[in-house]
Amino acid sequence: MEKVIGLITCNYSAKSPSALVESRPVASMPFLGRYRLVDFPLSNMVNAGLRTVGMVMPYNYRSIIDHVGSGKDWNLDRKNGGLFVLPGSAFGTSRTGARFLLRDLVHNKVFFTRSKSDYVIFSTANFVYNMDLNDLYNAHVASGADVTVLTKQASGNDADVTGFEMDGSRVTGVKHGVSFGDTAFLDCFVISRQLLLDMFDWYAATDYLDLFEAMGNDYGRVNVQAYNFDGYAAAVFNKKSYYRSNMDALDPRINAELFPEGRFIKTKAHDTSPAKFEVGSHVTNSLVSAGCRIFGNVGDSVLGRNVIVESGATIRGSVVMQDCVIKSGARVENAIVDRNNVVPAGTELRGTPEDVLIKEKGRE
């Protein structure tokens, strides 16, 4: 897709922040052991053939840059095109929940004007799915729509997901939050580059709005079509959906949808040796990243890189991020343990499946 460039907005700020995103942007949230959330949109774009991708950064961008670097792990370290790190506005989206803040796009107008591409695919880093974005692009070109948004029928209520009001496949309005059966926005859309530049002029006075809010009165004249994605997709806006989407991946069918043969999710490469399941360890229904050393018991859990589970320690129904040590006899249940934590011998971290306990980042 030489005619298409990508843009990922990474400065979403959660309306209801939790300890997990106090220390990092959503885009660099560790996910499924070895990944970060931004790996999904980045890989989807690159796997579809895009070779020019901009990333709008939040103010606390250190962990994102640390992760994506020059973009080489996504084949984006290129002589022409490649990865463009773009500044976001100073106070980000300041808990407004905006995804495609107009100001962030307008401030980086040069990224769009210098390009010779016909189209731009936009995405946030809040959704987890693996999709061939050529399907979205082809649908867009075939329908002749002005904008084509990627959507999915909501399978439950989620106050953080954007919903669309629909007339057939045409979008007539936008709203905050979705209920069961609504058309939920997967925060991904394709638009012609020229129309985007026109919109910068149309909506210059309301650049503090999200692009889709700014279009509020124009759904009659701008033809916004929905393209339904019928694969697995998870929204990650809060600790509950973060936990649930990690647990989802323990279902082999969902895992296979997220990591299909030939369309890998790319991530930063590490020189981590394989995990070692020691004599007497007991692991069931779990994802275990490289570098883990397991002597104890692990069930229904996701372990990040280099987690050490000492003998007699137990992890159940939990997400344990990289470089944690669960000491002998300790028990971790229904918890999200952020990186660099040591759970002392004989102690417990225990939440419930409905109200998961969060242990914030430990000291490095």
């Binding site: 499924l32 052991g33 997220l258 990591f259 490469a269 020189d271 394989p274 399941f277 692991v283 994802l287």
Partner: protein
């Protein structure tokens, strides 16, 4: 080490014919090892960790996988503008081309590469050995002795000494005698095939050797004995860590098993001296509800729904429901389907053991079972 003080010539053209099916379609340095590595990772990582940033990799046998795996050398931080990794296969000149005949000849044919880099010292390495070594320390040793050639050596059990090039040295570590595979060894110090030469001496002795019709153009058989006879200053550098040349199926299997257990002979988890690799990014390993993994090395992309014990499960290996894998090595992408039983076996890359097949034997007097890359083992085979 300063940038072009020392460059490495890494010999990676060997077939490793005694590894049988494992090297039927890849060169020995490209054989997978330890779950996520390939054998050449060890030498390349040693170079990177020692500050040797210019490395010529001499390839010949079945080079495709090796070439694509090494790529730009980026995975070992060896993608440098003035140096880095260069792949050096045999090439043609006005007078025709020739295959590499022997270790010394391979380097002779690439003296132009050495000239182009103009180093003071040249490190000669083999791409098919497993060990961790700081070549910087070896170079310091070389300079301290004001040596012409330094050979890395290690003590080996006396009963195995006749398999190696054996060195007798004086108390100052100067080499008195070098015998290739002696019948009656008078020392148990074995050459590891790792040499540091003064570049000028390397060039002159290789040129001399090249016109010698009787020479086999081999470092151990020809070059070193000649230098010793000429009274050059040859010294040893003693190494005492883990070092293996996995020449045979049984030593490959044994060395793999050495990575398991509570106190493995080789520490894969050293942070100071990491073994780097160009592994593809695959999801974390998944163990199913009825999966049972005990005493195993488990790489990314692995899925286990059955039982695996005392084994190495490399990237993307798969163990189906009610299948068992014991004392075995599953190379990347190897599949053991439901109900199959695999004991004391090495399964090649992307090989498949079909449902309910029994492979291998617990009887340790029998040979380790080996399935070649991409081979499918069905019932009755």
């Amino acid at each position: 080490m300063s940038k072009k003080e020392c460059i490495a010539m890494l010999l990676a053209g060997g077939q490793g014919s005694r590894l049988g099916a494992l090297t039927s379609n890849v060169a020995k340095p490209a054989v997978s090892f330890g779950g996520k590595f390939r054998i050449i990772d060890f030498a390349l990582s040693n170079c990177a960790n020692s500050g040797v940033s210019t490395v010529g990799v001499l390839t010949q046998y079945r080079p495709y996988l090796l070439h694509s795996y090494i790529g730009t050398g980026e995975a070992w931080n060896l993608d440098e503008r003035d140096g880095g990794v260069s792949i050096l296969p045999p090439y043609a000149t006005q007078t025709g081309g020739a295959w590499y005949e022997g270790t010394a000849d391979a380097v002779t044919q690439n003296l132009g590469y050495i000239d182009q880099n103009d180093p003071e010292y040249v490190l000669i390495l083999s791409g098919d050995q497993l060990y961790r070594m700081d070549y910087g320390k070896m170079l310091e040793n070389h300079k301290r002795h004001n040596a012409d050639l330094t050979i890395a050596v290690m003590p080996v059990p006396w009963e195995e000494a006749s398999r190696f090039g054996i060195i007798t040295q004086d108390e100052d570590e100067r080499i008195l005698k070098f015998t290739e595979k002696p019948k009656k060894p008078d020392s148990n110090l074995a050459s590891m095939g790792i040499y540091i030469f003064n570049a000028d001496l390397l060039e002159s002795s290789l040129k001399e050797d090249a016109i010698d019709q009787t020479s086999e153009h081999d470092f151990g058989k020809n070059i070193i004995p000649k230098l010793l006879a000429d009274g050059k200053r040859l010294y040893t550098y003693e190494f005492n860590g883990f070092w293996r040349d996995v020449g045979t199926i049984s030593s490959y299997h044994e060395t793999s098993m050495d990575l398991l257990g509570p106190n493995p002979a080789f520490d894969l988890y050293s942070e100071d001296f990491p073994i780097m690799s160009n592994a593809s990014t695959r999801p974390p390993a998944f163990v199913g509800r009825d999966g049972d993994v005990d005493d195993c090395l488990v790489a990314n992309g692995v899925q286990v729904y059955g039982k695996a014990k005392h084994s190495i499960l490399s990237v993307d290996a798969y163990v189906g429901e009610h299948a068992t894998v014991v004392d075995s090595v599953l190379l990347p992408g190897a599949v053991v389907k439901n109900g199959a039983h695999v004991v004391r076996a090495i399964l090649g890359e992307n090989s498949v053991v079909e449902e309910n097949v029994n492979l291998g034997s617990v009887d340790s007097t029998k040979d380790t079972a080996v399935i070649g890359n991409d081979v499918v083992v069905g019932k009755g085979e």
